[in-house]
């Protein structure tokens, strides 16, 4: 024996999943929606995607350099944050806005709270809400085929009617990534298939919104479907509400979280001032996560009765 052996406590084998491989899968799952956005809104959308992702990665790199922390850009989490933020942007947004959002997301929301795993709000969504409040006009003006138009949910709010089939495909004004339900569902199916996310949060979230819209809105299938397909609900439910760091880890907690998201989204949409509410519902629910987890700790095996 000419070499020292490694000694460590069991187990001695590890699965091949890593943080990096999971983040990569999440990024891949967003590609159909991103591709649809570029196809529909044009090259400026692609520019927004590239610049936002680059800004997020660069912010992380620079901050960690200055703070003398370990460089973690290889874990791909900044890429995911960048993609989510970019997909939440109107296609013709001036590029400095998503860059500002990226810096806010990575440095203020993520790194200042301790980096990956420590942030209590979804960084991309917190940044989006920050931008929505700061630059309301630019952040909520959407154009499609050269025409500026209201989003389907804004049309519904003012009593108009919408074409649900167009919403399903994505032929509607909106942010780059939220418009095409079918593209988003393809990505979501990939995440579920790869066991990256469970269906608990997205399904309870979407169902709750549907029930809420049915009870407090109009008892009309078209209205309910529009609420499911519109306002970034599908994007939010599958890609943002399921963010590991800011959603409950307990199975029961995930259901409670989904219902809370649905109720808040319904309240904001039907009784609030704005037509949409997914982003706000998610970041507010993020704050409830520690509480939800505390009350939904699972019963240990063999201790169910106690």
């Amino acid at each position: 024996m000419n070499k020292l052996l490694n000694v460590s406590s069991s187990p001695h084998v590890r699965s091949t999943d890593t943080t990096q491989s999971i983040m990569l899968d999440v990024a891949i799952a967003m590609l159909p929606a991103a591709a649809f956005g570029v196809f529909q809104f044009g090259m400026h959308a692609l520019l927004v995607l590239i610049v936002t992702v680059a800004a997020c990665v660069l912010s992380e790199f620079v901050f960690e350099k200055i703070a003398k922390r370990k460089n973690t850009i290889a874990d791909m989490s900044a890429v995911v944050t960048g993609l989510i933020l970019a997909l939440n942007m109107p296609a013709d947004i001036p590029l400095w806005i998503p860059v500002l959002g990226s810096i806010f997301a990575i440095i203020v929301v993520k790194q200042l709270y301790g980096g990956l795993g420590q942030n209590f709000m979804n960084p991309a969504l917190a940044a989006r809400c920050f931008l929505l409040i700061s630059f309301t006009g630019k952040m909520s003006s959407f154009t499609l085929d050269g025409w500026s138009g209201a989003t389907p949910l804004a049309v519904l709010k003012t009593g108009g009617s919408v074409d649900v089939a167009a919403m399903f495909i994505g032929k509607i004004p909106g942010t780059i990534g939220e418009v095409s339900v079918i593209a988003l569902l393809i990505g979501a199916a990939y995440l579920v298939f790869k066991k990256i996310i469970s269906l608990r949060i997205p399904v309870t979230y979407i169902l709750t919104v549907a029930v809420f819209a049915f009870i407090f809105g109009q008892q009309d299938m078209n209205f309910v479907l529009a609420h499911i397909c519109g306002g970034g609900l599908i994007f939010g439910a599958f890609f943002m509400a399921t963010d590991y760091v800011t959603s409950p880890i307990t199975p029961k907690g995930q259901i409670v979280f989904g219902i809370l998201l649905g109720v808040l989204t319904g309240l904001f949409r039907l009784f609030g001032g704005s037509a949409e509410g997914v982003s706000y519902a998610i970041i507010i629910s993020n704050l409830m996560v520690p509480l939800i987890e505390r009350v939904t700790l699972p019963k240990a095996f063999g201790k169910e009765g106690k």
Binding site: K3, L5, S10, H12, T18, L297, P298, F301
Partner: protein, 441 residues
């Protein structure tokens, strides 16, 4: 609904193809034999011999000191060379009897004589099992006579024989199920003789169809025994998981299997009971799988307890590549060795030799709260919360999140994408909490 199983668990790479088709070979030791006095849970045995004494194969050389303790039997004939502390697989120094093997294997009188279990009373059977030094050979090493002496013998409804062998790479139980199934059934019948109200169930994972077929065929005329195929999933062979899969009952950390009407014994343990009761042969040997990608010829060996691990490696053709990690046992629950000059004890089911150490290949990164650990935990607890408490050394918080229900199976650590040493931290915490409890009591 498919096969019987439990909720949670993982599917690590099985690695059984290396040795599953290798018939068990008898390995005759050449060098000195080392018999640690503590190869079981409970009080260490007391040496019955002194330096210079002649000893025989089958002779009791260590006496159980108390009820929860076990005798130690000499597996060769020769001379006692020394009684001194020696290193064992878990890293501890344990008082051991070292015997210079004369290579004759002269046995004590009567060794190997046939005995009809029907002529024995329940107490006689228990005494034979105790005298034979039998302990749980699956890994825990709990003295078998203690298991077979529950408070209320009529409350025992199931004798479960653990043939799950869910630990990756291990094939020793599998080979015994194929090669000596009569002894398994014979041993189980002896145990059933102790418990009038119990039925025997042999649980086998469905990645061993040959073993299921063989035993099912063998027990078809046994009214009190059946075979239960189990879903292949780690830790299916954990005591609590096995009881849950077969009977639907649940055992937590403050219960014994007997509290749920069950007694669980490993395949090799049942064979040991058969050998002791029906063949007058105490526990002197065990089946050891020598495997892993670093071993030239992976094999299953019939090894005399006390044999040096180095002899096993030599018999298996040595290392074909330089190993980075050697494990006494399997990769999920085995113990890493830093030296091969360690004796095979009653609980060593395998020697697994890896060219690459996967643990060292990965770097620990921050928890991303993915919840994989929660979904695989067979104890249905929340490793993330336990880790938080463990990192702070907060025993109270650790107990509050049911940390003591952890069975240290390693599933959470296996599945963690951030490669965090969860099980390792939990082992430390559980030890501390248990020590604190003893202090208070």
């Amino acid at each position: 609904m498919g096969l019987a199983t439990f909720k949670g668990g993982v599917h690590p790479y099985e690695g059984k193809e290396l040795s599953e088709n290798k018939p068990v070979q008898v390995l005759m030791p050449k060098g000195d034999m080392v018999y640690p006095m503590s190869q079981h849970i409970g009080a260490p045995a007391t040496p019955l011999v002194a330096k210079g004494d002649k000893v025989l194969a089958g002779q009791k050389i260590g006496e159980a000191s108390g009820f929860i303790s076990a005798n130690v039997i000499c597996s060769v004939s020769g001379t006692v060379k020394a009684i001194e502390p020696r290193r064992v697989a878990n890293g501890a120094m344990v008082n051991s009897i070292i015997v210079e093997n004369d290579g004759e294997y002269t046995a004590v009188e009567g060794l190997g004589a046939d005995r009809d279990p029907a002529s024995l009373s329940k107490q006689e059977i228990r005494d034979i099992v105790k005298e034979a030094g039998i302990v749980g050979l699956g890994g825990a090493g709990f003295p078998t006579h203690v298991k077979l002496t529950p408070k209320d013998e009529n409350a025992i409804e199931y004798i479960l024989v653990n043939g799950a062998e869910c630990e990756p790479y291990l094939t020793s139980d599998y080979r015994m199920m194929l090669e000596e199934p009569e002894k398994i059934v014979g041993g189980l019948n002896v145990i059933l003789q102790l418990f009038d109200k119990a039925k025997g169930v042999i649980g086998i994972e469905n990645n061993k169809p040959e073993a299921i077929k063989k035993l099912t065929e063998l027990v078809k005329d046994e009214p009190r025994i059946e075979v239960c195929p189990l879903q292949t999933k780690y830790p299916q062979g954990g005591e609590r998981s096995l009881i849950n899969a077969i009977t639907g009952r649940k055992v937590n950390s403050s219960m014994l299997p007997a509290d749920a009407g069950c007694i669980v014994d490993n395949i090799d343990t049942v064979i040991a009971v058969y050998m002791a009761v029906c063949k007058t042969t105490p526990l002197m040997r065990r089946i050891v799988t020598v495997t892993g990608d670093a071993i030239a010829n992976p094999q299953n060996y019939h090894v005399k307890i006390g044999t040096d691990f180095q002899e096993l490696v030599d018999a298996a053709g040595g290392f074909k590549t330089q190993p980075e990690k050697l494990i006494a046992g399997g990769p999920m629950m085995g113990m890493a060795l830093f030296d091969l000059n360690i004796p095979v004890t009653k609980t060593c089911s395998a020697l697994t030799c890896f060219t690459k150490d996967e643990v060292a290949a990965y770097e620990e990164t921050p928890c991303i709260r993915c919840g994989k650990c929660v979904s695989v935990c067979p104890s249905h607890i929340v490793p993330v919360k336990m880790m938080k408490a463990a990192l702070k050394g907060d025993c109270e918080a650790f107990e509050k999140v049911n940390g003591m229900e952890c069975m240290e199976c390693g599933s959470c650590t296996y599945v963690c994408p951030a490669k965090r040493p969860l099980t390792q931290a939990f082992k430390e915490m559980r030890k501390t909490v248990a020590a604190n409890r003893r202090k208070k009591a």
